[in-house]
């Protein structure tokens, strides 16, 4: 069984209904061909780090998929359709099962696989970024 993540950044001018319909369209395409949408994570509207098609915001949604290797042949089609859809600003599909497996294999026995994202409330210790930035500026 393979797992994938599919991220979609849609036009912020869509109404809530249109946005749901758009996501639903892709979910349906996936499920009708034997894929499974395990989880859906919506971030709502979010400011873009840089303008895309003169827009400064995007609607973010992440779909977590699961499917058999055979079924995954439908992904190119999903991507093709996302690319043709002008309500979609950006999309990204990533296969995650291998990375997660590897992570699980490396994790200490008995401990859960640690990714920072899985514990968003955990305090993040200050990295050397601040002083590092200064060092880099000097170069």
């Amino acid at each position: 069984m393979r797992t994938y993540e599919l991220a979609i950044v849609a036009d912020p001018r869509l109404t809530d209904e249109d946005f749901v319909a758009l996501v639903e369209e892709y979910k349906l395409l996936i499920t009708s061909r034997g894929g499974e949408v395990v989880r859906e994570e919506s971030w709502g509207k979010r400011k873009l780090a840089y303008p895309i098609r003169k827009l400064t915001e995007g609607r973010y949604v992440f779909l977590y998929l699961q499917m058999e290797p055979k079924t995954s042949a439908l992904l190119p089609e999903v991507e093709l359709r996302l690319g043709q859809n002008d309500k979609v600003l950006r999309f990204l599909s990533v296969r995650t099962d291998l990375d997660l497996q590897r992570a699980a294999g490396r994790a200490k026995p008995g401990e859960p696989v640690r990714t920072i994202h899985s514990e968003p409330d955990a305090p993040i210790p200050a990295p050397p970024a601040a002083e590092a930035a200064e060092a880099a500026e000097e170069e």
Partner: protein, 91 residues
């Protein structure tokens, strides 16, 4: 491919006291220390700490990340950039 001459954590302190001694603070890979095995491109808050002012990726020689973790950070940053979660550059 020849095997790596110093596998694992062999790197680190140089023999002290020889010739010039200049102080060099030891850098540690935060992800190794915390046993983090997967870095998510959606974790914007984390990734932001690994980009410089001009939105460049913080080099390993400064962050002290292990090669493996640096690779994870950089792929994650690149993915996040594609989705406009992080900037390619600042103007």
């Amino acid at each position: 491919m020849s095997p790596r001459p110093f596998p694992g954590k062999a790197r680190g302190k140089k023999p002290a006291g020889k010739k010039k001694t200049f102080f060099k603070r030891r850098k540690v890979c935060r992800f190794t220390a915390e046993h983090i095995e997967y870095i998510d491109y959606k974790d914007v808050k984390l990734l932001q700490q690994y980009i410089l002012e001009r939105a460049k990726i913080l080099p390993r020689r400064i962050s002290g990340n292990s090669a493996r973790h640096q690779r994870m950070v950089s792929t994650a940053i690149k993915r996040a950039r594609h989705l406009a979660l992080l900037p390619f550059t600042t103007d």
